[in-house]
């Protein structure tokens, strides 16, 4: 398993342990990208808080409105791994998502 794929898989697994979080798109051979949504917290709010922690992610409908309609969701938060990421950042990311969930109650 490639380094990027391993991080993607670890992040998806750890995020799925958070109550109310849904990972969107779990195809076996997809790119090292994790899209997710959280109950009662808008993806842009998540993105703003993660951005303040220097985590650069994208949020919104990603110019894929028909797919969003298919999944019956208006938007997602999306983390994309690349060669400059480190394994420890997966845990940092998950920790920050948990803090956001706690903040929004």
């Amino acid at each position: 398993m490639s380094f990027l794929k391993k991080m993607e898989s670890d992040l998806a697994d750890k995020l799925l342990n958070i109550n109310g979080l849904r990972v969107v798109g779990q195809a076996k051979n997809k790119s090292a990208i994790v899209s997710f949504s959280m109950e009662n917290i808008h993806p842009h709010d998540i993105a703003t808080f993660l951005g303040a922690e220097n985590i650069a992610i994208r949020a919104g409908h990603h110019c894929t409105q028909p797919v969003m309609d298919f999944f019956q969701i208006p938007a997602t938060t999306r983390a994309s791994f690349s060669i400059y990421n480190q394994a420890a950042e997966v845990d940092f990311f998950v920790e920050k998502v948990k803090e956001i969930k706690q903040f929004f109650g």
Partner: protein, 149 residues
């Protein structure tokens, strides 16, 4: 967690986001106005019941981030019972206080001034003003929907 961001979202915005005022559709509405941000996908519908130039009832429904939902909640709460002239003035005061770099002399109250913090986050300013901008256009047009409606 970032303190400046916590300041922006402060209790007022979180509360309105969680339990927004007048959050329901209204099939009896005189006008239904759409506030849609094509860039991010936030979308609200505003249901007006208007009689003799007075907003007798205003509700909203849709999907958006905490800031856009809370600001729309505050908007509909404050426009209940206002005539078009007063409603327009009120919206303009809010937009001016929220977007202008000059400190506003108007005292809009804590609930409305909570959104002024969005000035620090230019990427989120549109969230605070989305529904307000649409309503100003509607009121300036004399309460008539434009073709884009």
């Amino acid at each position: 967690m970032n303190e400046r961001l916590k300041g922006l979202y402060k209790t007022i915005i979180l509360e309105h986001n969680k339990e927004p005022f007048f959050y329901e559709k209204n099939e009896e509405a005189t006008y239904v106005l759409k506030a849609y941000n094509q860039i991010c996908g936030d979308r609200f519908e505003l249901y007006f019941v208007v009689k003799d130039g007075v907003i007798e009832d205003l509700t909203f429904h849709g999907f958006g981030c905490a800031i856009s939902k809370a600001s729309t909640s505050v908007l509909v709460k404050n426009l209940q019972g206002k005539d078009f002239v007063k409603a327009l003035l009120f919206c303009q005061q809010f937009l001016s206080a929220t977007t202008s770099e000059v400190e506003s002399e108007e005292n809009l109250g804590e609930e409305l001034e909570a959104f002024s913090a969005a000035k620090e986050f230019p990427g989120r300013l549109k969230c605070a003003t989305l529904a307000w901008d649409e309503i100003v256009g509607f009121l300036e047009n004399g309460g008539r929907l434009t073709v884009d409606g």
